[in-house]
Amino acid sequence: MSRRAFLKLSAAAAAGALPWRSVSATPDWHTYDVATKVTILKPQGASRAWIPLPLLDDTDWHRAIGNTWSGNAAKVQVHTDGKYGVSMLFAEWKEGEQAPVVEVTSRFMTRDRTVDFSRPNANVPRLSAADYAFYTSATELIPTDGIVRETARDIVKGQRTDVDKARAIYEWIVENTFRDPKTRGCGWGDIKTMLETKNFGGKCGDLNAMFVGLSRASGIPARDVYGLRVAPSIHGYRSLGVGAPVITKAQHCRAEFYAQGFGWVPVDPADVRKVVLEEPPGNLPVEDAKVEAARKRLFGGWEMNWLAYNMAHDVVLPGAGVKAPKLPYLMYINGETGGQRLDQLEPDAFRYEIRTSGVKA
């Protein structure tokens, strides 16, 4: 890839047309391009970057089309890594590269999800025993024993079906937690500490991890899905979409649980609390009609103005030159230079930018 081509690609990405939510490839599928440009400032020695790529698996709500890259990296690899299969692009620059830069453009399609709980489908595939065990197991920050299990037991007491139990957990989170705007990034999901301290403030990485942990502790398969908002909400929620093509800080994670007859069910209690805090004029009461509508919609539905990256916990970055703890999840761009890991939550210091654009049919 020549620098000329790289610059042309950057210019094309910057010229992404608006409004981008009004276009579609098929009647209900929408196609988006997301361009992620990473620059390593003040490089020292070898530099590296890890960029999450769209979810590899095609589903009835997400299709990965392809990715392309440009820049001056000496080495670029796609890794499909670890037990969760997180897909990422790894770029490496040799010592002496004065301005390490890489830009990745990903194209994908999405379609809104809604589960009709009145119509179970006996043909929905059952989870294998291995998958059941996998999606009810603990992660490093999401234990399923101790206070997590005790809390879950109290919440689901008297509930019979998995849907009923999951709904009870969802409602408990909406009632008891709150979105804390001071939380860095999306929060790291240390749910044991949240329960022990009874500090239930956080963001999606905390609140939806709470849903996953309490569900798993109740024997309900559940998982976080990490991603990025890419378009405005068509349901009138300013807080649940992006208002400009620069989406560098639009990371958002959601959650799913598995229920027999329905398969994987989308939920997002964290976004209910986001509506409470951020939907104008702000600090809405839970009884507000907008909150009630979101609360109803987000148990069993996702508006897919959002890109799913992966469902991974406890991520090890392949090719890293710096020894560092596992990442709770991979939703941000990571990098290292001069033998130090860069702060993934400080894109201005680290300098990465993500842009979105819709694709006309």
Binding site: M1, L56, G66, T68, A74, H79, R107
Partner: protein
């Protein structure tokens, strides 16, 4: 799904500026049966006895567009030899592809991978991704990223695969 999740797979690696085809070590050649823009069916199997260059591309992929003319120059340089180019487009409407071809006429078939199933079978996750299939139907080389396909070294490597 879990079976695939358990593997650590570096799907490909490329060194910028290497400009060399990478000998294939990725296993069996996936099936390829797709229609072209005119609705004709193309099967990789039907090209047995020829060398086939399979290029996964899209019009939104700048490096793909950059390298396309060089693929056509390679094709012209091997005109009359048992060499075929199949340009597999990823999930774009035919109208958009035709618009591109009006600006950049190409002398080879453009196939439509509407659901990207073939690209996924080839693990073509980064575009452009190109595979060179020998006369025996097996992948011999691959290259991910933009390449000048008309350079002498690449021409020599591909010509060496051609049956006498």
């Amino acid at each position: 799904m879990r079976g695939f999740l358990l593997a650590l797979a570096a799907a490909w690696a490329c060194a910028a500026g290497a400009q060399e085809l990478k000998p294939w070590t990725g296993g069996a050649t996936p099936a390829l049966v797709l229609q072209d823009l005119e609705g004709r069916s193309h099967s990789l199997e039907s090209y047995r006895g020829k060398v086939v260059l399979i290029n996964f591309w899209a019009t939104w992929c700048e490096p793909c567009r950059e390298e396309m003319p060089s693929i056509d120059r390679l094709r012209k340089s091997l005109d009359g030899r048992p060499f075929v180019v199949l340009a597999v487009n990823l999930a774009e409407p035919p109208s958009r592809i035709r618009g591109y071809l009006q600006k950049v006429p190409l002398g080879f078939s453009v196939l439509l991978d509407r659901d990207t199933a073939v690209a996924k079978a080839f693990k073509a996750r980064i575009l452009p991704a190109t595979f060179i299939v020998g006369p025996d139907g097996k992948i011999r080389y691959s290259y991910v990223g933009e390449l000048d396909w008309s350079q002498e070294k690449v021409h020599r490597t591909i010509a060496a695969l051609l049956p006498p």
